[in-house]
């Protein structure tokens, strides 16, 4: 469904965040991106939905060139791509319901929605999404009154409103404790398995990678240094991706 071709991103400061990166993702995959901090994971995910404009290369989603599209066309592509963030990126002062409804903005009339009007069936859709993530009791709370795990569930509910075919998750569990991390990952897995949503997710924890990924891509300084199944990640590979120093820390988890 997704083809990334020779993707390169050079930031204005001259940092080369991605270098000639190519890979493909098929429908229904749960692709995990791993790599050190600064290796370009976030940059890659944001190039896919064009929150960042790549310097060179192409992103093709279901045959449409994302990198060449703009305006309304780009917004139509974006509304089918959900995004989940490490810091949840909820609008803190708005209610949970408003935050979830925000996920639907791409489908709604821009004028009426800007005036604050959401149709009743959209509100129902939002309630259903919240129910699915078992957080419907918080519907009227302010987003910043919720715990981290609850906020991330609201973030996923917002994504559900998009009826996405692809979800980009940028370290979705990095600010949560291990138990919550599993519960959030299970929601993503559920979407992947039951709703057939393709997931591209960046992760740091090896146990999570091995538990949820169907395929793994390793990045180092913006270059793809690994691509394969999670089972293939051994001591050697890990050293390659995370560098010598990381070996001791991470490799123990492999034993």
């Amino acid at each position: 469904m997704l083809k990334v071709e020779h993707l390169t991103k050079v930031y204005p400061g001259g940092t080369v965040a991605l270098k000639d990166l190519s890979f493909e993702v098929s429908d229904g995959e749960f692709l995990v991106i791993i790599g050190l901090s600064g290796s370009g994971k976030s940059t890659l995910l944001r190039c896919i939905n064009r929150l960042i404009d790549p310097t060179e290369g192409k992103v093709i989603l279901d045959g449409i060139d994302v990198t060449a599209s703009k305006g309304a066309e780009l917004r139509h592509i974006r509304r089918k791509i959900g995004m989940i963030f490490q810091h949840f990126n909820l609008v803190k002062r708005s209610s949970v319901l408003t935050n979830v409804l925000n996920g639907r903005l791409g489908y709604l009339n821009p004028w009426t929605s800007t005036l604050g009007f959401f149709p009743a069936d959209e509100k129902k859709r939002a309630m259903d999404a919240l129910k699915r993530l078992s957080i419907d009791d918080k519907v009227d709370s302010r987003a910043d009154a919720l715990s981290g795990g609850q906020q991330q569930r609201v973030g996923i509910a917002r994504t559900l409103m998009q009826e996405p075919t692809l979800i980009l998750a940028d370290e979705p569990v990095a600010s949560l404790d291990p138990v919550l991390a599993h519960s959030i990952m299970q929601y993503l897995e559920q979407l992947n398995k039951e709703d057939k949503v393709t997931v591209i997710c960046s992760l740091h924890y090896l146990d999570l990678i091995q538990r949820y990924a169907t395929r793994v891509i390793g990045l180092k300084d913006g270059v793809k240094v690994f691509e394969g199944s999670p089972a293939e990640i051994n001591r050697e590979k890990f050293k390659e991706i995370y560098g010598e120093e990381a070996q001791d820390v991470r490799a123990t988890a492999l034993e």
């Binding site: 917004r75 974006r78 791509i81 949840f88 929605s113 800007t114």
Partner: protein, 453 residues
């Protein structure tokens, strides 16, 4: 240290007499030489500028000390005493220049007590009363054919038996149709409307009141030529309480003034806030430093805001009074301009502080520019904007009181007039009214702002 006496001592003493410190310098005691010179020169200059000869003692003593210092070379006399003298002079002259006078706080007490006590006799409300009023015009001094001093209106007649009045005459003023057995007030109003004389008499059982009134020369103080006959007016009135209280004349002005001040402050805050919004965006670093053109705009806007903000609203009001004339309008413009600059800066800081996360997230859902602004930007800035704006209104109410002093309208203008007229009861009432309004406003603005954060 061995070649200390390289320079003849007697010569250096002579040098120090001519110019303090010079001898020390020639003896290579540079530090003490320069210190003596600076101490003497500054002390001399300050005394010269201040112009009170008594203070010349200080530079003179420093000069003598300097000679003594060089005479007792190589030991020297040190700089402590001249330094202390110098400080004494500095504080002494400083104190006199600022007319520092603690005693004045007490010595003028008895004189000020009458005024201060007036401040606490608030003139805000008065017992409700009904009035009967009448008047007659009267010529003074008398011409050959004076018009009759007799006027009747609404059943109240006031007349003067003598028809006209020369200074020193005793005239008979008679009022008819008043309430019986009631204290009655008489005012002499000169041709320009000033109160020249006032007295009281009591009416009889038929409601007739008679007053023998001596005409004093004071009634002619405003006349360019007191020998030319002019028309004056005698006003006669009674008033009696009918129960309950009402605003006094001063109270009415205070209410009007406070209302004007609040409205003026509110108007300038709202208009200022509206104009401040675009400036806030233009002065926000995170939005404007993406390309060179916008960076230049950013720097210009920021500089202008900073300059305008640093000009006191009061100074601006004076300038606008000169441009557009007296009244509430120049005060309003000044406050508005100041508000634009102050709020523009504060708004820009709010915008700089917004979290880019939600913007990114809502963009990613396929929302358009307008929707992103509405759902990601506005919720982040509106509470802070509102809070800052309310706070600004609070500040503007206080400034507009002061701005009223320079003719900018509102309570400040009345207050200024009462101070000039030495109507201390009104001044005290106005103070209290302003304080009450400011405290109430402060309380509610704090409460609202608390909610918003």
């Amino acid at each position: 240290m061995t070649d200390k006496k390289i320079f003849p001592k007697s010569l250096s003493v002579l040098l120090s007499i001519i110019l303090p410190g010079l001898g020390q310098v020639f003896q290579r005691k540079y530090r003490s030489g320069i210190s003596f010179f600076i101490a003497f020169a500054t002390a001399f200059a300050v005394t010269l500028w201040y112009g009170k000869p008594i203070w010349f003692i200080i530079p003179a003593v420093i000069w003598i000390w300097n000679i003594w210092d060089i005479v007792s070379f190589p030991k020297g006399k040190g700089l402590v005493i001249p330094l202390l003298l110098w400080l004494l002079m500095a504080y002494g002259i400083g104190g006199q220049v600022t007319e520092f006078n603690l005693q004045a706080l007490f010595s003028n007490f008895s004189r000020s007590r009458d005024m201060v006590s007036q401040l606490f006799k608030f003139d805000f409300v008065q017992p409700k009363a009904e009035r009967i009023e009448g008047y007659t015009d009267i010529q003074s001094p008398c011409s050959d054919f004076p018009p009759a001093a007799d006027h009747e209106e609404n059943g109240v007649r006031v007349y003067v038996v003598q028809t006209c009045a020369n200074v020193g005459d005793v005239i008979t003023v008679i009022g008819e149709g008043f309430w019986p057995n009631q204290l009655t007030t008489f005012y002499w109003q000169n041709p320009i409307g000033g109160k020249a004389m006032a007295t009281e008499a009591t009416s009889d059982a038929n409601g007739k009141v008679t007053l023998e009134w001596k005409v004093l020369s004071i009634v002619h103080t405003t006349a360019p030529d007191p020998t030319i006959p002019q028309i004056h007016r005698i006003k006669v009135s009674q008033s009696r309480p009918i129960g309950g209280m009402e605003l006094s004349a001063v109270g009415g002005y205070i209410v009007q003034g406070i209302y004007e001040t609040l409205a003026l402050a509110l108007l300038s805050t709202i208009i200022g806030a509206i104009f401040a919004i675009p400036f806030g965006f233009l002065a926000a670093r995170n939005l404007m430093t993406a390309n060179p053109v916008s960076t230049v705009i950013y720097m210009i806007v920021r500089t202008v805001l900073n300059i305008v903000r640093s000009i006191e609203a009061l100074i601006m009001a004076i300038i606008f009074v000169i441009i557009v004339g007296l009244g509430p309008f120049p005060g309003m413009i000044a406050l508005t301009v100041h508000t634009v600059a102050a709020l523009g800066k504060l708004y820009s800081e709010v915008i700089e502080g917004i979290d880019p996360g939600p913007i990114e997230a809502i963009k990613a859902t396929g929302a358009n520019w307008l929707q992103v602004a509405r759902y990601a930007v506005i919720p982040q800035i509106v509470p802070a904007f509102t809070s800052l704006t309310i706070y600004r209104w609070d500040i503007n109410v206080r400034s507009s009181t002061i701005i009223g002093f320079v003719g900018g309208g509102g309570i400040g203008f009345f207050l200024w007039q009462w101070i000039v007229l030495q109507d201390f009861r009104a001044v005290g009432s106005a103070f209290v009214a302003i304080a009450v309004v400011v405290v109430i406003l402060d309380f509610f603005s704090a409460k609202i702002r608390e909610r918003l954060v």
